[in-house]
């Protein structure tokens, strides 16, 4: 089966230059994950233009390594500074920060990194086993099936995303509309340009990501007031070793969190709910639930394992179906298109060395990642001790450079700034940004799938329900869309109070 392929992949991933790229990627990713205002999606977006001239396999290895690094970096700020760098690190602060305050920071960090590693590795193993099978099934998919999967992707943001479902829907629509601006390549008609030549090329999703997540996040951080009062990070080999000796005791938590993470993660927007769910399960099954929130190591293990299992799982639909599960995966997917690869199941047949190199690099990237963060934690934590009057303009100018380098257009830097303000306002008004970005990336693909399906059926929408696979997926998608309407009604029927809205993924 896939094992010869995986060996071929390792041959690619273990080439010295690719290993070096993985090291660079993890280092940059950890920095990006530690810095406020720069997350995984943003780091990948800024770095993407630099990879245009690279080999696609090397480029994707650099970007996925950056992604792993950003996931690790989020844990550092959560535990030492009580600042969750990413939404899925919020649950890690509950017990991680109390541990650090009690002088057990080294232990908390070791537990977090190890859990991240275990979670990610679990997902990568499952990806290795299931990706070829899923791609095989997906090869039989036609345009109606692909449209159905896209519908499912977006319906899960509305139905399962948490927060306001109708605002999620509007975010998706904004993304699709922005994707439609410019030249319609099918008919050659100009759409929604209103006579402005600058609008002809449309909006670039990379610029949107840099603005929405980068600039928007800085504005939010500024409003909340920056206060980096961190605990100190001392990592001694002895502490790492002692922590590793007690971690196997929590094997049940590891296994449970891995499954929760993977199950939540391959659907969009899954990492954050997965981390919270895993945390509350760990607390419920614990013999001493009262110690949670006071600095229980299990409270670090559970969310970190689940978040990283979910982070890995979100790459599965991207490589098999060409449909990203997270904003970061969406940016990588955009990269595939720019490097001249057609994302989707055909990739396994046409570019096996690319796909398997990517999968193998997930193993190497994680091993490199866990070693590097354990070795250099104090160095990475020191970044947050750089005064914010230096960090802020530096991040803004790096964002500007990234936005400009995509198309070498000055207008893109202005777009970035405007997107930053929009991102800031949307974040405050509870319009989620992740579905907007995903819709912007997938807009053309979704529209083409819809058009081709309608051409196949001579304009009848029934084609989406009559074909068995597409019909089944669409039924689930419609159920998810209806979920926000059904749930309150169902609760009222059973007399269950409405719970508070769960924190959402950006």
């Amino acid at each position: 089966m896939g094992f010869e392929n995986l060996l071929v992949g390792f041959e690619v991933a273990l080439q010295p230059n690719n290993l070096l790229l993985a090291v660079i990627g993890v280092a940059l990713g950890t920095i990006v994950g530690v810095l406020p205002g720069l997350g995984g999606a943003n780091g990948v977006a800024i770095l993407l233009p630099l990879t245009f001239s690279m080999q696609p396999t090397s480029a994707i290895i650099l970007l996925t390594s950056l992604y792993w690094g950003a996931l690790f970096g989020g844990a550092i700020t959560s535990i030492l500074f009580n600042i969750p760098g990413e939404p899925w690190s919020v649950a890690t602060t509950f017990d991680g920060f109390p541990m650090a305050r009690n002088g057990r920071g080294g232990q908390a960090l070791t537990a977090a990194f190890t859990s991240s590693f275990v979670g990610a590795l679990f997902s990568v193993v499952l990806i290795t086993l299931f990706a070829p099978l899923l791609a095989e099934v997906a090869l039989k998919f036609g345009p109606p099936e692909f449209f159905a999967i896209q519908l499912l992707t977006f319906s899960s943001f509305v139905g399962l995303g948490g927060g306001s479902p109708i605002k999620s829907l509007v975010s998706i629509l904004i993304g699709f509309v922005m994707a439609g601006v410019g030249l319609d390549i099918v008919t050659g008609t100009l759409r929604m340009t209103f006579g402005f030549t600058d609008l002809m090329k449309g909006f670039d999703f990379i610029v949107a990501v840099i603005g929405l997540f980068g600039i928007g996040e800085i504005l939010l951080t500024m409003e909340e007031g920056l206060a980096f009062k961190g605990a100190s990070a001392k990592m001694k080999p002895r502490v790492v070793w002692d922590t590793w000796r007690i971690l196997p005791r929590y094997w049940r938590t590891f296994v449970r969190s891995c499954f929760i993470g993977f199950w939540m993660g391959f659907k969009p927007g899954g990492a954050t709910p997965a981390s919270f769910m895993s945390y509350s399960f760990a607390k419920r099954f614990s013999k001493h639930p009262e110690s949670f929130g006071q600095g229980d190591i299990e409270g670090v293990v559970a969310p970190e394992t689940a978040a990283h299992a979910a982070g890995g799982a979100s790459l599965l639909p991207m490589i098999t179906l060409g449909i990203p599960g997270s904003p970061t995966a969406a940016v990588m997917l955009g990269g595939l298109i720019i490097w001249g690869l057609q994302p989707g199941p055909m990739l396994f047949k046409e570019k096996p060395e690319f796909v398997w190199g990517l999968i193998a690099s997930m193993y190497t990237g994680n091993v490199i990642g866990v070693i590097m963060v354990l070795a250099f934690v104090p160095l990475f934590a020191a970044i947050l001790r750089v005064p914010f009057a230096i960090l802020t303009p530096l991040i803004v100018s790096v964002c500007a450079v990234g936005a400009y380098s995509v198309n070498s257009r000055m207008i893109d830097i202005w777009y970035m700034l405007i997107f930053g303000v929009i991102g800031y306002a949307f974040k405050k008004l509870d319009y989620p940004l992740a579905p907007l970005v995903l819709a912007l990336v997938l807009g053309d693909l979704a529209e083409n799938a819809l058009r081709q399906s309608l051409i196949m059926s001579q304009g009848s929408l029934l084609i989406f329900l009559e074909r068995p696979i597409s019909g089944a997926i669409n039924a689930v998608a419609l159920f998810f869309f209806a979920l926000p309407v059904i749930t309150p009604w169902w609760r009222r029927l059973r007399g269950v109070p409405v719970p508070a809205a769960s924190p959402r993924e950006t």
Partner: protein, 153 residues
């Protein structure tokens, strides 16, 4: 929050109507060989206007007195946004590298009150590093101004 919610909904409704009108202009029906260009955006616009009307109605009914930005929190936001805007504007005349130096220097001195020595060292290093990484190493040219022309780039 209520006013901000209503304003956003109104802006989005206006945007949705613009999308609908432009789609109607290029045709939303069935062309000779498939749906016309306006078909997809038209329905996006219709759903968007509908959804935003619901948002606006919900926001209107809610008596939310919480302000969009806390009193006193607008200043730090503007302290980032205005210099950043000036920075982007200045790229047009003096190029990205000089603009980065000026912007970083200004921000470090004005907000951070760092010593002049540190200001000069950090802001110049930032530009020089950016220049080498992008212009020389990755061959991605950035917007340039009179200084770069004078230096022969």
């Amino acid at each position: 929050m209520r006013a901000a919610d209503l304003t956003t909904a109104a802006v989005l409704i206006a945007g949705g109507l613009l999308v609908i009108s432009d789609s109607l202009r290029i045709g939303v029906g069935w062309g000779t060989d498939g749906p016309k260009s306006g078909f997809f955006p038209f329905w996006l616009g219709v759903i968007m206007v509908g959804a935003c009307l619901v948002i606006a109605a919900k926001a209107y009914r809610r008596a939310d007195r919480k302000p969009f930005v806390r009193r006193g929190a607008i200043a730090p936001v503007l302290k980032v946004l205005l210099p950043a805007t000036a920075f982007v504007l200045s790229i047009h005349w003096i190029g990205l590298y000089v603009a980065t130096t000026v912007y970083m220097g200004f921000y470090m001195r004005w907000i951070g009150r760092h010593s002049w020595a540190l200001v000069v060292v950090v802001s110049v290093t930032a530009s020089v590093v950016t220049f080498y990484v992008f212009e020389i190493w990755f061959l991605l040219p950035m917007p340039k101004g009179p200084l770069e022309t004078y230096l022969g780039y």
